[in-house]
Amino acid sequence: MEPFTLIRPRTLDAAQTRALGAPAERVYKAGGIDLLDLLKEGLARPAELIDLRSLGDEHGQAMRALAASDSGWSVGALNTLAAISASALPQAYAALREAAGSAATPSIRNSATLGGNLLQRPRCWYFRHRDLHCLKKGGERCLADGGENKFHAILGGGPCHIVHPSTLAVALVALDAQVEIIGAEGPRRIPVGELFALPRVSPTAENTLGEGEVIRGVTLPAAAAGQRSVYEVAKEKQSFDWPLAEVAVALSVEGGALRTVRVALGHVAPTPWRAVQVEEALTGQAPSAELFARVAALATQGARSLGDNAYKIPLVQGLVRAALHRACDVPVPA
C-alpha cells in the first residue's frame, strides 16, 4: 500500500475544489471499506483521500440525515448500513432495511455508507487480482469470458462480465429511488437506475458520476397505499460474503390484485437489473403460489451462461418466488 494524505474538509465546497482536476490522485472517502481494499490491492494509488465524513456544513448534515420529507423519505449518503438497517423507515421500504442489514458483516456495516456502497468497485476476481490485467483495468479482454466465471453475469454482460456488487442499489431500484448528486454546476437528480452504466457503455467504470461529483443522498418516493417491499438473498456463506444473487420486490395489493410491482435483481448483471417481464406478468393478477412459480421463470429471459454460472438462472428464479411469497404473505410449501 502506498502512503497517502488524509484531508478532512469542513465544507462540500472545499472538498470538491480539492477533488477537481485530478480524479485518480484525489478521491473521496466515506467509510473507507472498499477504498482500503483497492489501496491494498494496488488498484487505486491516490495521493490524497478526501474524507466526506468531516463535512460540517449543511450538505454534511443532509448527508447524515435519514428522515421523512414532503414527498417520501430522504436517506443521506453518509448513513451507515447499520444505521439504515436499524432506522425508522416504514414497512413500505422494508426492502432497504433488510438489504442494509444483510450485507457484509456487523462490523463492516458499522462503517460502510450508502454512498460508498453504491460506488464500490466490482468483486470480479480477475479485476481484483494483483497480477492480472483485464478489460476493466484497461487490458485487452475480459478474462472471465472463457475463464472461471461462477460469480459472473448472466444478463447484460459483454464485453466485460462483472456483476454489480451493491446490495443497497437493488433495493433502491425496486423502491424507485432518486439519487441526489451535487456537482460543480449544482445539484441534479436521477433515477437510481441511471447511476449505473453497462460495460458496453463504459467497460472501465460502473457509474455515470462526473468528475468531482458527490452523492448527497437518495429519496424514496411516497409509498403507494398498502405498499410492501422485501429483499431476498442467497450466499455461499451467511456472513462476510457477497450474494450469489439477490432480489428486491416492491408491490401493493388492491382489491385482491397486484399493483405497482417493481422487481429488481442483483449480482446477475453488471448493473442492478429490473425484471420488467415479471412486473408486467404480475400486474393485475391475484397473488398465488402457482402464479409466482410461473412468473419467476420470466426473470431470467435472455439470460446466457458463461459456463460456470448457469445455476444463477434457477437460483434467481427461486429468490423471486421467495420474495413474492413473503411480500404477499403466501406461505411457501413446507
Partner: protein, 778 residues
C-alpha cells in the same frame, strides 16, 4: 536394566465392557492409569493456563518478534505456472531505499513450476521498502506449457510437470505408512495400494453394484497466523530462530542442515503460534524455502531478518489438502452384504506428492472380504500439497461414505444399519448404536422422507460417517523434565510447541495430579528447543507422546520426595505414605502429615529434578489399526442438513460427534479440538475451494474473501460425546483427537444432503450451484 519389565493387571475397555488385562511395561514405569484410577485433576474441565496473555494480547507470536536492528524480507515469486529463467539480476534491488541485501533463489536455466515459486528475495529496513524493491529485480521468463487441472494433467500428451523423478516430501504431519515403490507415467505416479481378498472376484459375485466418481477440491490450510520466521545469527556458527511451527525440532534440523551447523547450535523458539493444520513443519513452507531465505539474508546483511508471508503467499506456496477424483465401485448381495470395495483415487498435490486418500475405504467396513484401494498422485503446475489435518482422510471418507449411502438406496436398506453390519471394531459399533438412539435416527429419517414427498421448499436429511485413526504416540521422543524446588515451585519443562491444542495446560494438569497440587500453582515452560527434545504436533500425537512422559518424570520426582518424607518421619520405607492436598501423610499409625512446603524446604540442594520419556505403546486393544501396529481410534458423526431447494443453499443445523480419545485429559480443550474439527469439516464440505485460473495458472482467490471459510453464522448445534476408553497404551492413557475429529464431517453432510434431496452431490464443496444442478437432475 534394559529388557526388564513389570506386569500390571489393569482394568481396560469401555462402557460396560471393562475387563482385567495383563499389560507388560518396562520396569520403572508407573502403574498406568486405568478404569480404577481415581483422578482429581485429569478428566476435569480446566481452562487454559495461558489464556490471559492470549486474550490480552501479551502473548508474543512470531509476527510480534521485534529485535534490535531487525530487517524485513520480501520474496519475489514467479507469476508464471511454468517458465524457464532466461535472465535474473537482483543487483538493482540493492540500490532501492532501505535495502540491505538481495539474493536470487533460482539460477538462469532453472525452471519454475508453479505461480508463486521462489525467484529472489530482499531484506530492507521496513516491510514496505522490501516489497517495493522487488519491482526493481530484473527477470526474464520463457513461459512454458503448463497444466493446472487434475483431469487434464492425467491425459496423455498434457504438458509434463516434472522431467525427473520426484522425491517424497514427508513430514511429521503425515500419517505413518509402510511406504513402497512408486511408478511414474506422464504426470501420474502410482503409489502402493491397500488390498485384501480379490476385489475382482467380489465384484463378480455381486448382485447389486454401485459405481460412480467423486471429486474433492483443493483446500488450503489458511491458519490465522501466516508462515513466519525470524532468524538471528549469534556467531558464524550459531543462530537463533523464532518460527511459527508445529515442530520446533524440525525447524532446528532444517536450519542446521541448510547452513551446515550443529543442531545444538541452533536455538528455536515458538512461544505461541496461530495455527498450522499440518503445513508448518520445518523452517520452510512446502513451496517456499523460508528458512534459507531468512537465514541467508540475515547472514548477508549481518542483521536479524523477519520473513512474514502475506495471505496471498500463504495460499499459493505453503501447502494444501490435495484435490481428488475417486472412482468407487461397490458390490453387494441382494440382502445387503458388501462383497467388494474398489477405489481408484487420483489426487493432485500440485508439484508435490502425497495425494493419497487415507484408510477410510480400507479400514472401516472390514466385514467386506474384498477391498482394493489404489492411489495415484497427479502432478500439476500448482503449489505443492502437504499434510493437512488427517491427510487423505476427509476426501477418502467423502467418497466411500457417500457411495455406501447410494448403494444403500439401491438396496432399499437403511444406510446406518448397512454400516453397523459391516464394522468390526467394537468401539465403532457401540458408537454407531449410541448415535442411532441419541440422534433419533429413525424418527428424523421418517420426518425428512415425509417433507420430501410433500415437496417442501426446505428439505432435511440425516447422514452418518465414520473416522479411523491410529494411536501414533511416540516412544522416547519427548523428554520431559519435572522439578520441585526448595521453595515448593513445581515446574514442567519440555521443548514442545503448543499449537493451540492446549498441551501447556495438560502438562500442568498431569503435574497437579501427581503432586496433588492446584493447577494454577504449576509452572510450565514450553516452546523452546533448549527445554528438551519433543515431538512435532502431527499425527495427533502431542498429548499421547508428551503427557505420559511428564507423568513418568513427575512420578520419579514424587518417589524421591516420598523417600525424603519417610526419612523425615523416621520411617523405614515409603510404604504407608500417601499424597494429598495437605502434603504427605501416614495412612495408619499416628497419621502424621508433612506439609508440601515443609517437605520441599528439606530438599537437599536446589531441587529434585527428573527427566523421563515414555516407551512404545504397550497395548493395541481392543482393535489394531490396519496399517500400523497401534491401537485404532474410532469416531462417528451424525449430521442433519437442511437444503433450500429454491436456492441450493445447504445449512447444517445439528451435529452429534462421538469420539474415542482414550482417556480424556482435559475435556474442555478436547471438546475444543472437536469443535474445531467439525467447523473445519463443514467449511470443507460447503465452501472452501481454491480456484485456479486455467488460462493463466494463477490462483484467483488468494484471500479470505472469495476463499471462503466458515464463520459463526454457519456453526451448528454441537453435541459431543467421548467414548472414554481405557487403553492401557501408555501411563496416562492419552491417544489423539485433533485429526480424527475432522474426518467424517464432510462425508456425513454429503450423506445428509443425499438423503434430503434424494440425489447425490458427488463433488465438494457442495455449493448452491452444484446442489441446484443435483436437484434438477443434471
Amino acid at each position: 536394566m534394559a529388557g526388564e519389565t513389570t506386569i500390571y493387571t489393569l482394568r481396560l475397555g469401555f462402557d460396560d465392557k471393562l475387563k482385567a488385562v495383563k499389560v507388560e511395561v518396562p520396569k520403572g514405569e508407573p502403574r498406568p492409569w486405568d478404569a480404577d484410577s481415581e483422578l482429581a485433576v485429569i478428566g476435569r474441565d480446566t481452562p487454559r493456563i495461558d489464556s490471559v496473555p492470549k486474550v490480552t494480547g501479551a502473548a508474543q507470536y512470531t509476527h510480534d518478534v521485534r529485535l534490535p536492528g531487525m530487517l524485513h524480507a520480501a520474496v519475489l515469486r514467479s507469476p508464471h505456472p511454468a517458465a524457464e529463467i532466461e535472465h535474473l539480476d537482483v543487483s538493482p534491488a540493492l540500490k532501492q531505499p532501505g535495502v540491505r541485501a538481495a539474493i536470487d533463489l533460482v539460477k538462469v536455466g532453472d525452471k519454475v513450476r508453479f505461480a508463486g515459486a521462489d525467484v529472489a528475495a530482499v531484506a530492507a529496513k521496513t516491510r514496505d521498502e522490501a516489497r517495493a524493491a522487488l519491482a526493481s529485480i530484473v527477470v526474464r521468463y520463457r513461459p512454458l506449457p503448463f497444466v493446472v487441472d487434475l483431469d487434464e494433467a492425467i491425459q496423455p500428451g498434457s504438458p509434463k510437470v516434472h522431467e525427473k523423478a520426484v522425491k517424497d516430501r514427508r513430514t511429521e504431519g503425515d500419517e505413518p505408512s509402510e511406504g513402497g515403490k512408486a511408478r511414474v507415467e506422464g504426470n501420474v505416479r502410482r503409489n502402493p495400494s491397500l488390498s485384501k481378498g480379490s476385489s475382482n472376484k467380489g465384484l463378480r459375485q455381486a448382485k447389486v453394484r454401485h459405481e460412480a466418481t467423486y471429486t474433492t477440491q483443493v483446500h488450503t490450510h489458511s491458519a490465522l497466523e501466516t508462515h513466519s520466521i525470524v532468524v538471528r545469527w549469534d556467531s558464524p556458527k550459531a543462530m537463533t530462530a523464532w518460527c511459527s511451527t508445529q515442530g520446533i525440532f524440525s525447524v532446528r534440523d532444517e536450519l542446521a542442515g541448510v547452513f551446515e551447523l550443529k543442531p545444538a547450535d541452533v536455538k528455536v523458539f515458538t512461544e505461541y503460534m496461530g495455527g498450522g493444520f499440518g503445513a508448518k513443519f520445518g523452517a520452510s513452507a512446502p513451496g517456499s524455502r523460508l528458512g534459507w531465505i531468512a537465514g541467508e539474508l540475515a547472514r548477508k546483511s549481518k542483521a536479524p531478518v523477519s520473513l512474514l508471508l502475506d495471505r496471498h503467499e500463504e495460499h499459493v506456496c505453503t501447502g494444501n489438502r490435495p484435490g481428488s477424483t475417486q472412482r468407487v465401485t461397490l458390490g453387494a448381495t441382494t440382502s445387503g452384504e458388501l462383497t467388494a470395495i474398489h477405489v481408484v483415487g487420483h489426487g493432485s498435490a500440485g508439484i508435490g506428492t502425497g495425494a493419497g486418500i487415507g484408510n477410510n475405504a480400507f479400514g472401516i467396513y472390514t466385514r467386506c472380504p474384498n477391498i482394493l484401494v489404489e492411489s495415484r498422485d497427479v502432478f500439476c503446475n500448482t503449489g505443492p500439497g502437504t499434510a493437512f489435518r488427517a491427510p487423505g482422510h476427509p476426501q477418502g471418507a467423502f467418497a466411500i461414505e457417500l457411495a455406501i449411502d447410494e448403494l444403500a438406496l439401491k438396496l432399499g436398506k437403511d444406510p446406518l444399519e448397512l454400516r453397523i453390519g459391516h464394522v468390526e471394531h467394537p468401539v465403532r459399533r457401540a458408537q454407531l448404536e449410541l448415535g442411532r438412539e441419541r440422534f433419533r435416527w429413525a424418527e428424523r429419517r421418517r420426518e425428512a422422507d415425509a417433507k420430501r414427498s410433500r415437496g417442501a421448499r426446505y428439505l432435511t436429511g440425516v447422514g452418518v460417517a465414520c473416522s479411523i485413526w491410529g494411536d501414533y504416540g511416540r516412544k522416547n521422543a519427548a523428554r520431559v523434565t519435572v522439578s520441585v524446588d526448595r521453595d515448593g515451585v513445581v515446574e514442567v519443562r519440555n521443548g514442545v510447541q503448543d499449537i493451540g491444542g492446549g498441551i501447556t495446560t495438560v502438562l500442568a494438569m498431569v503435574a497437579a495430579e501427581v503432586f496433588a497440587r492446584p493447577v494454577p500453582s504449576i509452572r510450565v515452560q514450553v516452546g523452546n528447543s533448549e527445554l528438551g527434545p519433543s515431538v512435532g504436533s502431527g499425527g495427533s500425537q502431542t498429548t499421547s507422546s508428551v503427557a505420559p512422559a511428564a507423568r513418568n518424570a513427575a512420578e520419579a520426582v514424587k518417589a524421591e520426595l516420598t523417600e525424603l518424607a519417610a526419612k523425615l518421619l523416621g520411617r523405614g520405607s515409603t510404604e504407608g505414605l500417601v499424597w494429598g492436598s495437605d502434603g504427605v501423610s501416614e495412612v495408619g499409625g499416628r497419621k502424621r502429615t508433612i506439609a508440601f512446603a515443609e517437605l520441599c524446604k528439606k530438599i537437599e540442594g536446589e531441587a529434585v529434578v527428573a527427566t523421563a520419556s515414555r516407551p512404545q505403546t504397550y497395548n493395541a486393544g481392543p482393535m489394531r489399526h490396519p496399517s500400523a501396529p497401534v491401537y485404532q481410534i474410532a469416531g462417528a458423526h451424525f449430521i442433519e442438513a437442511e437444503v433450500d431447494t429454491w436456492t441450493g443453499v445447504v445449512r447444517v443445523p445439528e451435529v452429534l460427534a462421538i469420539h474415542d480419545v482414550g482417556r480424556v485429559h482435559n475435556p474442555l480443550t478436547t471438546r475444543s479440538q472437536v469443535n474445531g474439527g467439525i467447523a473445519l469439516g463443514i467449511s470443507y464440505a460447503l465452501m472452501e475451494q481454491r480456484i485456479v485460473d486455467r488460462g493463466s495458472g494463477r490462483m484467483l482467490n488468494p484471500n479470505l474473501e472469495s476463499y471462503k471459510i466458515i464463520g459463526a453464522a454457519e456453526l451448528p448445534k454441537l453435541d459431543i460425546v467421548f467414548t472414554e476408553l481405557h487403553t492401557g497404551a501408555n501411563s496416562t492413557g492419552a491417544v489423539g483427537i485433533g485429526e480424527p475429529s475432522t474426518i467424517p464431517t464432510a462425508a456425513a453432510i454429503a450423506c445428509a444432503v443425499h438423503h434430503a434431496i434424494g440425489r447425490p452431490v458427488r463433488s465438494l464443496p457442495m455449493t448452491p450451484d452444484r446442489v441446484l444442478a443435483a436437484i434438477q437432475g443434471a
